[in-house]
Amino acid sequence: MLTEFGKAFIFILIAMIFVIGLVFLSKLIRPHRPTKEKLLTYECGENPEGSPWIKFNIRFYVVALIFLIFDVEVVLLIPWALGYKAFGITGFLVGLVFLVLLGLGMAYEWRKGDLEWEKPKVQPPMINKQPVAEVEEELLEV
């Protein structure tokens, strides 16, 4: 007899076999005529310029870190959520202390500005105006 997780694992295996099988099936049918232009990386019809493996925004890293904290928190809270009712109000308060600590951490991150995404500064359109009198003077001089 399979365990329930064994069945879930078979689901993953079946999905993998399905995709690999279909890709293989299409390999039997489809044409294969590579040319130099086809094998270039797509970049709006131009030749690719430089490596795409660039340094990316540090914000993504901060988001991942905050996510990690919350993820671990939820994993810790799930057993509590399943069983706190057995302990009545005490059980709930234990979880509440934990939640409040997390809330404080969240408030700190918010205050520090880690949740802000960089926004481009709006530059209002400027017209270089010269006072009318000066222009008239210039004209008179000419």
Partner: protein, 361 residues
């Protein structure tokens, strides 16, 4: 049932278990996801067309009924171009991982009271964990493509999925607190009877708790709907695939069958999240008004009815997703992060604590 049959056939419990497991895991794929995807791709085009006062595909079959089948035949014949600069092993493995992640979620989704792929006690927790494979697959696809658009798209996509996973989990957690179970099967069984037993209406039974829970449940439903919408990268949260700025996001470099697999995974994911929302708040496979099978005294009709109800509820939410696509404009990246971190998470957090207090009454 199927297991007993195989035990008789093979006389060996291990082989019988594996054989019935394989058969059970093939059922949702061939009986549900593929027909559903055929239907949903067409429906998406038809819905968007009619919302824009167009007709959509009309040529192949009556009102374009066979359009998707023609598309699939086309996609199978398409040349599979793998650019020479890509990281080939990762590039080829990414669609496998993305589809495996979204299909594995179906293992713990009960389609009717008689069919659930795998009766894991962790249920919803397992689903959330296993859909992490999709994140890994998307990042892999973007990185391996060696394309600027793909990399940007996948980075955005991962940041978005990861941030919106937290409100989802907080809402799921609050529901776990109320129901004290994580299995979607048990959760659906608890919401049996009529529609006022659904969790959106405060759950089964008549008590003060039920009526106090209704506002919290409504808030929870709205939060989980918004965040699951973001998790499947649908409009208004389609920044990762914003075609006007990023070509096609993480699958820019993919063509032919591999692209089709990303597409299939996306549609499977759309149904999976809708099904989860339906199972958590709208009674899962339970009928809102009672069963025809009970009325007529026909036992075998009930599972079929349950399946139809479940499909209908899921498809309704998929339709709402398509509807929203043509209603709302796309969010900016900073707005997207603000919605998740500054609105949904604090609200879900407070909602969780309020639900905790209510359940203690």
């Amino acid at each position: 049932m199927m297991y007993d049959f195989f035990v008789d056939l093979f006389g060996n419990t291990v082989i019988a278990g594996i054989a019935s497991g394989i058969l059970m895991s093939l059922l949702p794929l061939f009986l549900f996801i593929l027909p559903y995807a055929l239907f949903a791709v067409l429906a998406e085009r038809k819905v968007s067309a009619h919302m824009q006062d167009r007709l959509g595909p009309m040529r192949i079959g009556w009102h374009g009924w066979n359009q998707t089948i023609a598309d699939i035949i086309k996609l199978i014949q398409k040349e599979d171009i793998v650019a020479s600069d890509t990281d080939k092993p990762l590039f080829n493995f990414a669609p496998v991982l993305v589809f495996a992640g979204s299909y594995a979620a179906f293992a713990a989704i009960p389609f009717s009271s008689y069919y659930i792929g795998s009766e894991v006690d962790l249920g919803i927790f397992y689903i959330i964990a296993v859909t992490g494979l999709v994140v890994a697959g998307i990042l892999m696809a973007g990185w391996a493509s060696n394309n600027k658009y793909s990399l940007l798209g996948s980075m955005r996509s991962v940041a978005q999925i990861v941030s919106y996973e937290i409100p989802t989990m907080l809402v799921v957690l609050s529901l776990v607190m109320v129901s004290e179970t994580m299995s979607l099967h048990t959760l659906s069984e608890m919401q049996t009877g009529y529609f006022w037993n659904w969790y959106i209406f405060g759950g089964p039974g008549f008590s003060l708790t039920k009526f106090l829970l209704i506002p919290s449940m409504l808030i929870g439903f709205i939060i989980i709907y918004i965040s699951t919408l973001a998790e499947v990268n649908r409009v208004p949260f389609d920044i990762p695939e914003a075609e006007s700025e990023l070509v096609a996001g993480y699958h820019t470099e993919y063509s032919g069958m591999k692209f089709a697999m990303f597409f299939l995974a996306e549609y499977a994911n759309m149904y999976a999240v809708s099904a989860i929302v339906a199972a958590l708040f709208f009674g899962g496979y339970q009928s809102p008004v009672g069963y025809l099978g009970n009325l007529l005294g026909v036992e075998w009709l009930i599972p079929i009815e349950q399946f139809l109800w479940f499909a209908a509820k899921g498809l309704f939410f998929v339709f709402v997703q398509m509807w929203l696509r043509w209603t709302l404009p796309r969010l900016r990246v900073d707005q997207l992060m603000a919605v998740s971190w500054k609105y949904l998470i604090p609200i879900a957090f407070v909602n969780l604590i309020v639900i905790g207090f209510i359940t203690l009454i």
